[in-house]
Symmetry: C2
Subunit: 149 residues, 2 copies
């Protein structure tokens, strides 16, 4: 079946689905009552998969936002003791972001929250379909076969 503007429709569906993903993710996070917003959660997960503590600028690039946006996120996470700002002795302009023990504990909860949220979102799809979808999304994001997690 062909629609008059299939690509535009696809973008529409993508945006619509996105709103739902946001809502569901937000709800699952709030349910766990960690005091962590979705964007903070993403930063924490990104942090967890880093080797040594990254710079603010590294995080900004990885998260695809401007550095100023990272400042706000780290502010919130630092206030709740999930991360620590550590000055870099080698270059006094840079600040490295470290996970605290508290942050590592929160990450376990976050993973569970994300898993249940993903389950709710992806419920209508079979395993094969999920795999196909993952492949297509990867192609859209870039050419790599694996993401940040």
């Amino acid at each position: 079946m062909t629609t008059p503007d299939p690509d535009g429709l696809l973008a529409e569906q993508l945006l619509r689905l996105t709103r739902r993903v946001h809502r569901i993710q937000k709800r699952h996070l709030e349910h766990r009552d960690l005091g962590i917003t979705p964007a903070q959660s993403r930063l924490l997960r990104t942090l967890a998969h880093w080797g040594s503590p990254p710079r603010m600028a590294d995080l900004a690039e990885r998260l695809e936002v401007v550095p100023r946006a990272v400042t706000t996120l780290v502010d919130g996470l630092e206030a709740s003791g999930k991360v620590r700002r550590v000055p870099d002795p080698a270059n006094r302009r840079v600040i490295r972001i470290e996970l605290t023990d508290d942050g590592r504990g929160a990450l376990r909860e976050l993973r569970a929250a994300r898993r249940s949220a993903a389950e709710e979102i992806l419920a209508p799809l079979t395993g094969d379909q999920r795999e196909t979808l993952g492949g297509l999304l990867n192609t859209l994001i870039d050419g790599t076969p694996a993401g940040p997690c």
Copy 2:
């Protein structure tokens, strides 16, 4: 290839892609310089595919937002003359939203903007892949085979 948390990864990819879709859509809209935000654009397109002028509540349901959010969108569109609030004589609580001629003109531009944005986003996919993706997204959104446009 199997990752330790494939579903969580999928949600991650979806959110990441979403940010990109938003950015691209916003840029294409700004480029056309219509003074219309992405959310307003969505409301206009929804409006265009309605039979008779819908109520605010109808729009809220269709857009999957609370009625209060529609008020703001309509405020903006009415201020720029793209839609008109028309009281319903049969029920004086309801307000019906009509497209103006100006709004209809804007819609043509919007369609072009959306098409070019979609083309940019979907460039890495072949026609078949787009079709597959559309099917999967539809399944995720609900069971219907066709969307709002």
